[in-house]
């Protein structure tokens, strides 16, 4: 734990403040050049064009960024407690590759151009199907090792499906570009429908909130936790469901964005310690801030995809942190 106990207590209010600042900055950033005065006027509907840009484009984008960041980060935290390994990530059990396969199929078959609901819905279906398949493959009590192996198998299989679709549509330049861009994650043209589709994230986050304490016990040993009064079977099922919903919905509304679920909870744990009652809210807010910051950085750097920025930012920062505090 790098921060002292006193500083750790300030972590959440500080992160909320950072999130607020980033949200304000994000509202002022976009291809349409709007002065702060126009942004303000637009927020109060006094400037029609600015109002459209702000309310229909920038606000949904900021909202989706926060939802996705919170969801992926919380999902990673849950997976790390579930597998008792601080290097676990949301994609272990096939959620991301299932979502990717579903989305890629939707784009390739033209459903994505038909309705903006089509792509996220197929992504969610793919993600849930993948996790369900993992559970069925693992079977009978689903021990950690069996789950991990089943996840590896399914990730490989779904990766093959995605690659197959990509290869089949290589001739259609536009569609291929769309698929590739989706696979790299992105937040352009997010609408309020996408925010609505992200609402399950809020529900899942609320359900996760009170589970902090049992998660502490669970991550020090399942049988010990059971003996101390935790209903381990119920808790594991609930945690897996929540992690899946969070990661699936996040992937559906923003494409595959990697590293957030791995880096953010791990870094937070290094900073403020492993107590989940503190980590759960911090992961939600910190993840939101992280993705928002990455989106801004990507746009400032000339249009880098969100998934690329999270990897570029997350990786080296993580290495630095490890060197400072082994």
């Amino acid at each position: 734990m790098i921060l002292s106990a006193r500083l750790a207590r300030l972590a959440l209010p500080f992160t909320l403040l950072v999130l607020g600042v980033l949200a304000v900055v994000a509202l002022g950033a976009g291809d349409m050049p709007l002065s702060p005065a126009r942004v303000w006027a637009g927020l109060w509907h006094r400037d029609e064009l600015a109002a459209t840009v702000l309310w229909q484009m920038r606000l949904p984008r900021v909202a989706v960024a926060m939802l996705v960041g919170a969801a992926l980060s919380a999902s990673g935290l849950v997976m790390q407690a579930y597998f008792r390994n601080s290097l676990a990530s949301p994609g272990l059990l096939g959620v991301s590759s299932g979502g990717a396969a579903g989305a890629v199929i939707a784009i390739a078959l033209g459903w994505a151009a038909f309705s903006l609901w089509a792509l996220p819905l197929t992504a969610v279906v793919g993600a849930v199907f993948a996790t369900g398949a993992v559970l069925v493959l693992a079977q009978r009590g689903a021990s950690t090792e069996r789950l991990l192996l089943a996840g590896v198998a399914l990730n490989a299989l779904l990766g093959a499906v995605t690659s197959y679709v990509l290869s089949q549509y290589a001739g259609l330049y536009e569609r291929n570009t769309q698929i590739l861009f989706w696979l790299l994650g992105g937040l352009e043209d997010r609408t309020w429908e996408h925010v609505l589709m992200g609402a399950p994230i809020l529900v899942a986050a609320a359900a996760l909130w009170p589970l902090g304490r049992p998660m502490d016990l669970l991550c020090l040993g399942e049988r010990e936790a059971q003996s101390l009064g935790v209903d381990v079977r119920w808790l594991r099922r609930r945690l897996l469901a929540l992690a899946t919903v969070l990661a699936a919905v996040a992937t559906a509304i923003a494409g595959t964005v990697g590293f957030v679920g791995l880096i953010v909870p791990h870094v937070l744990r290094l900073l403020v310690g492993p107590e989940h009652r503190r980590l759960v809210p911090l992961a939600l807010v910190g993840g939101a801030a992280f993705v928002l910051a990455c989106d801004l950085a990507g746009r400032a750097a000339g249009g880098l995809r969100l998934g690329i920025v999270t990897a570029l930012v997350g990786g080296p920062f993580f290495l630095w942190l490890l060197r400072r505090h082994p």
């Binding site: 734990m1 049992p214 991550c219 009064g229 310690g273 107590e275």
Partner: protein, 244 residues
């Protein structure tokens, strides 16, 4: 917390069978007893403790204070009995104090008895240290402190003395004796037969079967020791062992 009717056994196991590990083991422990579980490696001691704790499904029945295990909800089970594993694997760096405080989960996460548990296991100076940076003996003491903090009337410990140095091992035995005098029932597995000789009751397992259960004087006879452990025993004032 202690059974009102002294005729009720703190722990009663009937015909417990886990395929490949234990076979038809039956056991009755009256409340307030300090009981040692002995047997060669692979005899099924850990399995029996987990069955007694309700952590491993087995055919046959387990009751705590006359109540069948299936009728006790999970949270309440946390208040009634505590199991301590053979080995402490802490993958995360919780502080010693917060791990010991986990023992109060079934009591609504109050902090009653946590400082006391830390003190009894000589962990007060280590209270702020992350548990994944402790030695084997210190980690074992953390597990025991957590078990103590639960205040459960039935304690099931798997080889608690093995990683401890002589001083701490003695302190734990003294602690165990104190707890049983206050009404707690303690069942723990161990290898040192000379220590077993000083307990209220000894249960001997061999290859998954219950070989004997009763006061040490009656159970730890030279014949049984030779048969189960393959050593020659001489009873002098205590118990001395030597190779055949």
């Amino acid at each position: 917390m202690v059974a009102a009717a002294s005729s009720l056994n703190a722990l009663e196991i009937t015909g417990a069978t886990v395929p490949g590990r234990i076979d038809g083991v039956s056991l009755q422990l009256a409340p307030g007893l300090l009981v040692g579980l002995v047997g060669p490696n692979g005899a099924g001691k850990s399995t029996l403790l987990q069955v007694a704790a309700g952590l491993l499904p087995a055919t046959g029945g387990v009751t705590w204070n006359g109540r069948p295990l299936a009728a006790i909800p999970t949270l309440e089970r946390g208040r009634c009995a505590t199991w301590v594993p053979q080995e402490a694997r802490f993958e995360f760096g919780f502080s010693v104090r917060s791990v010991v405080a986990q023992g109060r989960f079934a009591h609504g996460d109050d902090d009653q008895g946590v400082e006391e548990a830390l003190a009894r296991l000589d962990l007060t100076t280590l209270a702020g240290r992350p548990v994944n940076r402790l030695s084997g003996g210190e980690r074992e003491r953390v597990l025991l402190a957590r078990a103590l903090a639960t205040g459960a009337a039935l304690q099931l410990w798997d080889e608690p003395l093995a990683p401890l140095d002589p001083r701490h091992a003695l302190e734990v035995l003294h602690l165990a004796r104190e707890l049983t005098r206050a009404g707690t029932t303690m069942l723990f597995s161990l290898h040192d037969l000379r220590v077993a000789n000083c307990l209220d009751m000894v249960v001997v397992l061999q290859a998954g079967h219950l070989r004997a259960a009763g006061p040490p004087a009656a159970v730890l006879t030279p014949d049984l020791l030779h048969e189960v452990f393959g050593v020659r025993a001489r009873i002098t004032e205590g118990l001395t062992l030597e190779l055949p």
